[in-house]
């Protein structure tokens, strides 16, 4: 009965990322659970349901040797328009996702944060809370919630942040992680700066830990790997058969690879919770070690390998894909600190690290490797003076699927202030002239804008204050003396 994690997918983006996440989770567990037993690792994400009886009965983990009957994901699906969800349920994930845990409406939130937060939120408060409570009761010892949403739209940002606030009230002892997709510069939603700023104001106050993911960074990553893969494939195989298959992984939808990257992040994050290893890192370890001050809970994430190797039918491309995987453990360490592997567009090496956590996966990873690499890379990083040597390390014995080792780096870094500032500039461009604000004022009071601006502004100032604080201030420190003054 390990720590269970309940996923709450809100909005179109959140549901698509969630969908991909379940696919990858099933693939990972299938790779390691060859006997088809419902063990503790599976039980952190899935329930084992006996559908032969009516109503369907949940089978407990027990000794961890019972056979799998039907797996149902521990998730709650919320969307205000049913298009994406219907498509998900029609596909192969229809069996894993339970329609009991679905909250949906018809018309959508119109890309309006206020509509989502102040109108749909309260209207569906009870329905959503019921579904979440049902899911939580199915868990033996619930450890955390993971809310997947985007900040640029209406449902994901509005209803999503409403849910985060609700969880803070109703389940105070359970951690609230969010995987928030920040809008990119050329987002197709015009009001995304408003939505993002208002949502961010809520996340600062009510979430325990936010993992920002920027669409633009994901696009860059996917483009880079695709280009490299195409080059490698074209170099390997003969031109004719291969060059016809361009685009992301042969026939999949355009956002699939990007969502795959975001979903892998979640898998690596929870690897140590699910599988064992010499040095386990729980989710509460992460919040304890990487959040030095209550509101500074935005963690930059980066990982290597970035994408799970796709199931390519074509041998040439599969070989090319494998050739792109990192070759040595030392290489992955160099990768995760580089700019190209970050999931937001920021250069962490140019900014100051407040805290850094490294979770290595793989049977061959040892403390010696991690220490050696940290010692090698540490001189290139700027760390804040009160945490100049501090790294939170974890080792999980199970590697990611398809690669012998992997590494996830979660950093609390002042580079996020730059992201906030960019967001603020885009927001200001619209807000100066009060474009589109009347849509929001239909549902909320105009003070909402200013309070969100203040909250985010304060946080940005806090981060900026710590930027470059790599030297201790030249104050004389009073050491507590105890009784040593006695002769």
């Amino acid at each position: 009965m390990p720590r269970e994690l309940v996923t709450i997918q809100v909005g179109q983006c959140g549901n698509q990322v969630g969908c991909r996440f379940w696919e990858l989770a099933l693939r990972e567990h299938a790779a390691y659970n060859t006997k088809g037993v419902y063990d503790e690792a599976l039980s952190s994400f899935f329930r084992n349901v006996d559908t032969r009886v009516e109503p369907p009965r949940n089978l407990p983990v027990g000794e961890g040797r019972g056979a799998i009957r039907t797996l149902k994901a521990r998730s709650v699906i919320v969307d205000m328009e049913c298009g994406v969800i219907n498509e998900m349920l029609k596909g192969p994930l229809g069996e894993v996702l339970d329609t009991r845990q679905l909250v949906s409406d018809v018309s959508g939130a119109g890309n309006n944060w206020a509509h989502g937060h102040h109108e749909y939120g309260p209207r569906y408060h009870d329905a959503i809370l019921d579904k979440i409570r049902l899911t939580a009761e199915d868990c033996d010892s619930l450890q955390s919630f993971m809310v997947l949403h985007s900040l640029g739209g209406g449902t994901g940002s509005g209803v999503g942040t409403y849910i985060v606030r609700m969880l803070a009230d109703e389940f105070p002892g359970v951690f609230r992680f969010t995987g928030s997709v920040f809008p990119s510069e050329d987002d197709d939603v015009v009001t995304s700066p408003y939505n993002a700023m208002l949502a961010l104001g809520q996340l600062v106050e009510h979430a325990d830990c936010v993992l920002p993911i920027e669409n633009q960074a994901l696009i860059d990553i996917v483009n880079r790997t695709e280009a490299a893969r195409d080059r490698a494939a074209a170099a390997d195989a003969a031109a004719s058969a291969v060059s016809g298959l361009k685009g992301s992984g042969g026939g999949s939808k355009p956002f699939d690879s990007m969502n795959g990257v975001a979903a892998s992040l979640l898998l690596h994050l929870t690897a140590s919770v699910r599988f064992e290893g010499p040095l386990n890192v729980d989710l509460n370890d992460i919040t304890m070690n990487l959040v030095p001050y209550p509101r500074m809970h935005f963690l930059l994430s980066s990982m290597s390998p970035l994408q799970p190797p796709p199931k390519d039918k074509d041998v040439g491309r599969a070989a090319a894909a494998l050739a792109l995987q990192p070759r040595t453990l030392d290489q992955v360490f160099g990768d995760v600190f580089s700019r190209e592997h970050q999931l937001i567009r920021a250069d962490p090496r140019a900014a100051t690290y407040l805290a850094c956590g490294l979770i290595a996966r793989g049977p061959t990873a040892t403390m010696a490797d991690i220490n050696r690499n940290v010692a090698r890379l540490r001189p290139q990083l700027k760390m804040v003076h009160w945490n100049s040597e501090g790294f939170k390390l974890g080792i999980c014995s199970t590697p990611p699927v398809g690669c012998p080792f992997g590494l996830l780096c979660l950093a609390n870094n002042t580079a996020i202030a730059h992201t906030f500032t960019t967001m603020r500039e885009r927001f200001d461009k619209l807000y100066k002239r009060r474009f589109y604000t009347h849509h929001y004022e239909q549902y909320m009071d105009p003070g909402g804008f200013t309070s969100a601006m203040e909250v985010v502004g304060d946080l940005t100032a806090q981060y900026r204050a710590l930027e470059g604080a790599t030297q201790a201030p030249p104050l004389t420190r009073l050491r507590p003396r105890g009784l040593s003054f006695l002769p």
């Binding site: 009965m1 390990p2 720590r3 033996d140 010892s141 450890q143 064992e276 010499p278 040095l279 386990n280 729980d282 509460n284 370890d285 919040t287 304890m288 070690n289 990487l290 959040v291 030095p292 001050y293 209550p294 805290a355 956590g357 040892t366 403390m367 010696a368 490797d369 220490n371 940290v374 010692a375 003076h385 009160w386 945490n387 040597e389 501090g390 790294f391 939170k392 390390l393 201790a472 420190r477 050491r479 507590p480 003396r481 105890g482 009784l483 040593s484």
Partner: protein
């Protein structure tokens, strides 16, 4: 507070054939872990598991004929080992007044494995300094270097390091028999009393045992009762302690008889395991007599990869010479010893950190040397009794025990537990980090969630300052 490691340990024990296993219901696990939060372990989980944990202990204690004490194995950097471990130590102290509580604590890597380790380590140390009867500190860095340099493991894993630590601990705690430090197990040097007084008055000189050329194992033995006619009065005053030891230790013959037999027979004591008092009790009474000095360092020789054991010749002088130099320099590793440092070096008499440019020589309050293997009863280890190696005011700076049984596959091995000032360095470095963090109030809100305020942090740091100062002035 999370189940994976305990499950792994129990299955590993059960899989080791039918030699041993953990009792089937002797474990307590919860689900969420303590999140590397000392306050969550101590104030959060402590009261919650108080009853269950003490129940488990009571079941085991009821099986024991005569309880000497408890040995707690824990880390100092985490949440459960550090926080809940400290809580359990305090609970055991309250519940079982007359039993010893000894701790074996793992000091984390200085390069950091947990970011809040300075807080957790110092909180643990300050609480355990009051509660524990003896604290053996095992440093991860030292174990790592031992594994890498001496055992030849290029990338040591935690399993390797744990094995090294466990071997050293077993070498110290397996049964052994007391004896004197000089050749043949004598308590007084075979050289004449006069000679001995002369040497001692000058306060230097290579230990008395070595300078007498003609003393073989049998030599001039003064059939002195242990601690009776103390040469120079340094070995006095321990009989009340011994008496109570006898009543509590559950051994057979009283120690006096056992002590006199080696010197009387003159050819070494009886072989085999023989009489032994409880090792935990010996550890505490011999080494941790003063309430302010409770931190012990464990050194064990030889540190050899198993493949080399068959090709090594073991001699007592070689082993003890290296072990003594390890004690003098304060190192825990058998290699890289700086042989130029001796107790007579210019910086030796200074307190640590007094700013003298000389090399710092380690000084111990008390040491306990345990020899295992053939000839352990007669080997001469008088050089450890050098007065320059110990503080001037220590009542009994050296105790020696032996056992003729082999330990592991080494024909001869030795282990030294000493209450010395080697621990000051790591403590001071940890203090620097902790003060820096507390000043910026970093991570403090996580501890305040469980009721640990900044004032408590400062109290605890003050306590640590005390401990470090005292040891530095040893």
């Amino acid at each position: 507070m999370e189940p994976k490691v305990v499950a792994g340990a129990r299955s590993a024990a059960a899989a080791s054939g039918s030699w041993w296993r953990y009792p089937s219901s002797g474990y307590l696990v919860m689900q969420s872990g303590s999140g590397n939060n000392w306050a969550q372990g101590f104030h959060g989980y402590g009261p919650q598991v108080h009853e269950d944990a003490l129940d488990l202990v009571r079941k085991e204690v009821e099986h024991a004929d005569s309880l000497t004490g408890f040995l707690l194995l824990q880390s100092m950097a985490g949440g459960t080992g550090a926080g809940l471990g400290t809580y359990v130590a305090e609970a055991l102290r309250d519940e079982y007044h007359s039993a010893f509580v000894a701790n074996c604590c793992v000091w984390p890597y200085e390069s950091g494995e947990v970011i809040v380790q300075p807080y957790n380590t110092l909180l643990t140390l300050s609480h355990l300094a009051d509660v524990s009867d003896g604290l053996v500190l095992l440093e991860n860095e030292a174990l790592h270097r031992t594994a890498a340099k001496l055992y030849g493991i290029a990338r040591p894993s935690f399993g390797d390091m744990n094995g090294i630590a466990a071997r050293a601990l077993a070498a110290a705690l397996l049964p052994s028999q007391p004896r004197g430090p000089y050749a043949g197990g004598a308590y007084v040097a075979p050289a004449s009393q006069q000679h001995h007084h002369h040497h001692q008055a000058h306060g230097h000189g290579a230990g008395p045992g070595r300078s007498s050329p003609g003393s073989s194992g049998g030599g001039v033995q003064l059939p002195a009762l242990r601690r009776a006619d103390s040469s120079g009065g340094r070995l006095g005053g321990e009989s009340p302690g011994l008496g109570s030891l006898g009543s509590r230790g559950g051994g057979a013959t009283p120690p006096h008889a056992a002590a006199s037999s080696p010197s009387a027979s003159g050819a070494g004591g009886s072989g085999g395991w023989g009489v032994c008092t409880a090792p935990l009790a010996e550890l505490v009474t011999r080494l941790c007599g003063h309430p302010a000095y409770r931190l012990l360092t464990l050194r064990s020789v030889p540190q050899l990869p198993p493949a080399n054991i068959d090709f090594t010749t073991f001699t007592w002088p070689a082993l003890t010479k290296r072990l003594r130099q390890m004690l003098v320099t304060g190192s825990v590793l058998e290699e890289g010893l700086d042989w130029s440092i001796t107790p007579q070096s210019p910086g030796a008499a200074a307190a640590l950190g007094a700013g003298l440019a000389g090399p710092t020589v380690n000084r111990a309050l008390a040491s306990w040397l345990i020899l295992r293997g053939q000839g352990a009863a007669e080997a001469d280890v008088g050089e450890f009794a050098d007065p320059a190696l110990s503080a001037a005011w220590s009542p009994e700076p050296l105790s020696v025990s032996y056992s003729t049984g082999r330990f592991g596959r080494c024909a001869m091995s030795a282990c030294l537990l000493s209450n010395d000032r080697h621990c000051v360095g790591p403590i001071q470095r940890m203090q620097e980090h902790a003060y820096g963090m507390l000043e910026s109030r970093a991570f403090v809100h996580q501890y305040e969630k469980y009721g640990l305020s900044v004032a408590e942090f400062q109290d605890c740091f003050a306590r640590i300052e005390d401990i470090a100062q005292r040891y530095a002035r040893l």
